[in-house]
Symmetry: C2
Subunit: 337 residues, 2 copies
């Protein structure tokens, strides 16, 4: 199951909101439908959002093709702004847009469009090459007989197919390592129970589902060897924004002396930010916590705080694993290249 | 709304599984129905379970009244064993049974039954007196303008009407203190969103619902002044079993230097246990995590770990507040009486 695929005349997205109960694909023909799908998390995960941003430029340009040249520029400026800002925290989305937008030429024509498509496809190919290297490095950290823990979804569904943190488990399994993974269900949207459990079971990896609040009990009772998570944006000092709950998990891992690893491609690094304080955290609708599939879970008038992400200080991260190496404090990302 | 009330010829329980959507009462006429209600969490919360255990002795004795004397003893021995062990972690349940069972006389008659009823009512009255003292002590720890955080439900619904940790907030509000409470939704059964939010809104206390994984982000961003929780069993060294997630919250509070308070009546102390290692932790059905009101949240074949409680070391607890005082490390409970 690929989260997104560029077809002849449109973008196909796997609707991740309906998994695992229903495997349904969205056929996306214009940038507004893409923005909606991104906002509603039909497609999610930092690397997958990078690809969505990249292909979004092609999609919007196709729409603009029939407009007069002077309107093409305005249309695209607005469309690309909307795509890039559909979700603010993952840096990959706006980066994907920027990278492909650099290939825009006016007036638009089929050749320009083909160039945009190729640039998007190049981003995906590079992303997959990076994933292979990153996963190979990460897999060395998995020990035979080990017990691991993960949060949210960082598998094929969150990326261009290979995964980040979950990709490490897939590869370790391919190398015939024996290990077990505890999976945080990841409230409110349950990417852990819905997506990660589905992906781990598909690869025949022993996986145990827990609520997010049980990670401490698991570390205390089950002897966890490491926590592996992804990231949505990493600052120069190693501070990492990731799915809300990651900070709590990192604090808990530190208390129980469990190594805490972040697996993310170079494209998730944002060295322009000195620290995580500068990362904008998206707040989402109260409905995500108060309702589940239409079922009311809390009083209608209840006030809710629903940040989609939190920022884990670099000092709580044992290592950040990118395609360029295993980085530890102080995080001189890129210093050894 | 009282969680339980002893009527003329039966026990009435508020069905807490259906709140806040539906206010429905269960009419309990025999001990088997009571055991079922306790197991299914129609009634829950350590002090409320103490009262349920106490009234359960009266209920079972009423059933046994028509039996020949020699069968009365066997019937009650089995019935009381079932009630006392319906849930293993909260000590109050078996204590409530034992206390009232000490008043059993054979052959059973109406006078004996009346004595059992009175003993159960005495337990409730003492519990409420203890609650008032405990709450009064706890309220001194609430500062005007403060921000607090709580987990699970420790209000009127969990007790014989006054609450433990939540009772502190109710009393502080009555004293016109201004403060705000963040409420963990408390997966898997959502006692926080369903019950605690309902009780806080009813008292007009500003409350903000979060998922359990957001507590760290709240402590980091919102300046929390204290965490208040209840307990189901407290060992001699201060180790406290409470709703799963409490340990993670205590670890997080320690990291962010937030005071962590446990509010529980003396009847929750179990000084026979040297440490929390001896506390039996109930594991519950996988369905509680994999389904919500019949909606499937995870793959059908997913393995699940679902402990109902975890044990927080006394060293992570700033103070335990009972009706007899505010106890800190080393916890010499009862030493000053």
């Amino acid at each position: 199951m690929l989260p997104l695929e560029l077809m002849e005349d449109h973008l196909q997205l796997l609707d991740q909101r309906r998994l695992p109960a229903e495997v349904k694909y969205l056929q996306i023909f214009d940038h507004k439908a893409l923005v909606e799908a991104v906002r509603e998390l039909a497609v999610r995960g930092a690397p997958a959002l990078g690809a969505a941003g990249a292909f979004g430029v092609w999609l919007a340009s196709r729409e603009a093709l029939s407009l007069p040249e002077d309107r093409q520029r305005d249309f695209l400026a607005e469309a690309l702004r909307r795509i890039a800002s559909a979700r603010p925290t993952a840096v990959n989305l706006s980066r994907g847009v920027e990278r492909v937008a650099a290939r825009l030429r006016y007036p638009l024509n089929n050749e320009v469009l083909e160039g945009l498509r190729q640039e998007g496809e190049a981003l995906v190919a590079e992303d997959q090459r990076a994933a292979r290297r990153m996963i190979s490095l990460g897999t060395e950290l998995i020990r035979d007989g080990g017990v691991y823990l993960t949060h949210c979804n960082t598998g094929g569904l969150a990326t261009t197919g290979l995964g980040t943190a979950l990709g490490v488990f897939f590869e370790a399994k391919r190398q015939n390592k024996k290990f077990r993974v505890f999976v945080d269900e990841t409230r409110p949207l349950l990417q852990g129970s819905r997506l990660t459990m589905t992906e781990l079971l598909a690869e025949d990896i022993p996986a145990v589902l827990i609520t997010d609040s049980m990670a401490a009990a698991v570390m205390k009772e089950k002897g966890v060897d490491g926590v592996f998570v992804g990231a949505d944006r990493i600052a120069a000092n190693g501070d990492a924004a990731n799915k809300v709950g990651t900070l709590q998990l990192a604090v808990t891992a530190r208390f129980f002396r469990v190594p805490f690893y972040v697996v993310a491609p170079e494209s998730t690094l944002d060295p322009a930010l000195a620290s995580g304080k500068e990362i904008k955290i998206e707040e989402r609708s109260a409905r995500e916590i108060k309702y589940l599939d239409g079922i009311q879970l809390a009083p209608e008038t209840a006030e809710v705080f629903n940040p989609a992400f939190d920022v884990t200080p670099g000092s709580l991260i044992t290592a950040v694993i990118t395609e360029h190496g295993i980085f530890r404090e102080p995080y001189n990302f890129g210093a050894d290249r």
